[in-house]
Amino acid sequence: MKHVDAIIVGGGPAGLAAAIELRRKGIDDILILEREKKPGGILRQCIHDGFGLTRFGETLSGPEYAARFVREAESLEIPCLTDTTVLEITPDRHVFASSSEHGMMEFEAGAIILAMGCRERTRGAISIPGTRPAGVYTAGVAQAYINLKNKMVGRRVIILGSGDIGMIMARRMTLEGAEVLGVFEVQPYASGLPRNVEQCLNDYNIPLSLSHTVTDIRGTDRLESVVISEVDDHMQPIPGTEKEYECDTLVLSVGLIPENELTWMAGAEKDPGTSGPAVDENYQTTVPGIFAAGNVLHVHDLVDFVSLEAEALADSAARFITQGSLPESKLAVRGGELVGGLTPSRISGESDVTVSFRVRRPLRDCTVEIRQGETVLKRRKMAKALPAEMIQIKLAADKLNTTDDLEVTVSC
């Protein structure tokens, strides 16, 4: 069994950024474990541009954004085992991984950084009725086939869900000659970014229908048609509004879920608000020395913020590795009713905190307030707030006390 100061599970944007930053902080003994043949994660198939504006001040495609981190990691000679899947993480920080080349490996880690990203919500998870023909793909799978494997998945397409990947695939498939009949969203608002509604749908005359959902899937061999219904205020289909669309492909973009099977195996507790692990301001889970950042923690709308978060994590992980522990975080972080996906779950009050959350529904002219006891730490007025956009607010340590819980509220 080999000891490694820092094991990073996942060589996507979060893992690479954490590794590079750890090395810069003086941690030499680092190992990235990546299940794919090459590092870069999901960005390798996100060939569209729009990445990097925050992190690099320029707009890049996904592969270019990833390559900047891959090259940096290579120049710093950070070891990365590809084609390697982590099978188990134990609470005492043992990592079991397998690969064809190296067989079964067991490591003992000083710190473990969870950077597994997220997965897509599937047809089964949302229980779409109907038959089970070929031709029903999640947006990410369709994207992998089209952009990585050179396989076109269909010609006449309906997209369910207005997540960013769904809209990006609407444009992508249109560019490749498919006919995208429409994007249907069960919520009364688009779940992806407004710019993607504009440049992916409006640019290509692809209609977006809000408050609609798929209520039947038809065809036994290949998809033949789907039935779309309007939904009411409780998102229940309204009888009599059914409309059948002939199509050979249904692309689902109905949400992303943090990929935390290994996290739970390691004994970390879940934050019910994010479905990801509960972490403190140091991105430390409830298991000492196991950290999480990026989409494994909570799903981000921009990769730039994934990188920045992983870099912040690296700072605390480096301190943990050199000092052996971090200040205990006893203060709870609580959100009001309009606040969703709030992280961190708890803080110590002794160091800087970045609070991240989303509003639960689109709001105009609202006020975000962060309080500790009676003290208002931050008040921010926002002309517009959308669930698609993560809100991040930084609080300096010198403003925080070490006795009161943190409350985040949004009011209109």
Partner: protein, 120 residues
């Protein structure tokens, strides 16, 4: 005439309202930065876009190399450029930044590779 735009220059996606007389902007509001005004001006004049797609690679460790344009092109030429890109097949290896079509259709921009594909 009042026209509404969603700016696509960055992920903020500002809702911009513009007071127009013909093609002349008389008033603009909602943009949080100057890029918004530039975007709207261009959008009224001649909308420009970049595109991202793939070219076929012969003998590579991946079948496709992703590509984008070195700059924006008029929106109504997107499918003309796609038709050109579809004709291309490049031998491996190709690297990020390689030009696969220079000055595509005389539009003043190149089609450039965004991903390394090594020889298999």
């Amino acid at each position: 005439m009042l026209r509404e735009f969603t700016c696509i220059m960055c992920p903020q996606g500002c809702d911009i309202s513009v007071e127009l007389e013909g093609k002349t902007i008389k008033g603009i509001s909602g943009n949080k930065c100057p890029k918004g005004e530039a975007y709207v001006t261009q959008e009224i004049e001649n909308p420009m876009r970049n595109i991202a797609t793939s070219v076929l690679v012969d003998g590579g460790d991946l079948p496709l190399a992703s590509v984008r344009l070195s700059g924006v092109i008029p929106k109504d030429r997107i499918f003309d450029v796609m038709a050109e890109i579809r004709k291309v097949e490049v031998p491996a290896p190709v690297h990020e930044g390689d030009v696969v079509i220079a000055d595509v259709l005389g539009l003043g921009v190149d089609v450039i590779v965004t991903k390394d594909v090594e020889a298999a």
